[in-house]
Amino acid sequence: MPVANSGAKMTATLITRVLGVSALAATGLMAVLGLVISPPDVVQGEAVRMLYIHVPSIWIAYGGFALTSISSILFLRRSRRRPDQGRHYDRLAGSAAEVGVVFTAITLITGMLWGKVTWGTYWQWDARLTTTVLLFVTYLGYLALRRLPAEPAVRSRRAAVMALISFINVPIVHYSVDWWRTLHQKASLSVGRRPEITGEMYWTLLYSALAVTILATWLIIHRYRVIRLEELRDEEGLEALIASRLNKDFGSH
């Protein structure tokens, strides 16, 4: 028999508890490394410490949006034959996108603050900044579309298509600094190119990316479960409403 207060366990299993504690410890160590142990930069001074949150945040956002796209493809391929699998991929797409949006917002905010002390301005409409804010707004639109009232299958299908269209902007954001002239500097780390960051700073950046990845994974798993719970509640609520309405209509005769 269900126990009224045991709903708390719905979002906390042993695995996610361990992951949550790991995320907390990892971000704590990230703060120590990023704010205390890593050295100031020869040009930017203390402001370089923004690097350790700004850059990993956009990497996580890219990863979240990539996961949304992969899940959306799997949803579109499997939802007709296996509706249960389809719903699983739809939830995964939604939770990854929401976490991606949170990290894109962090990227934009930290970038603006960092820009003020280095560039001398919070904002410029250059290609990198413009495409990043467009990415943020597009995925906000995706999340809004997921909330539009419609049949669940239709809504999920629309969202999956929009996720795939929205992802086009991700490589544009990443390569905008190479394709166009921008105020924003080139990528901090690129595959096949020697990093332009010295030892301690380089390792702090990589560690920060790892810490933020653990946190994002924990958030995606929890958000997934919450979406599942929201679906259960909606189904239960609708059934109760229909039942009470039918009882009322038939009961009066």
Partner: protein, 56 residues
């Protein structure tokens, strides 16, 4: 704004956003779970769902 103030603001805002979002997600889950009166039995079903994420 000085370099140090910028760093404090940037890291501070980041931690506030992440903490707020994390707390919101956890408490929303707990709230809806409580509303539905879901217990251990239903939990194992959900774990199966999440298991597919970590397995995939």
């Amino acid at each position: 704004m000085s370099e140090v103030a910028t760093v404090v603001a940037g890291w501070g805002i980041t931690f506030v956003i992440l903490a707020t979002y994390s707390i919101w997600v956890v408490f929303r889950g707990k709230g809806i779970g409580r509303e539905l009166g879901i217990g251990e039995t239903e939990q194992s079903d959900l774990e199966k769902d999440v298991g597919t994420i970590t397995d995939s």
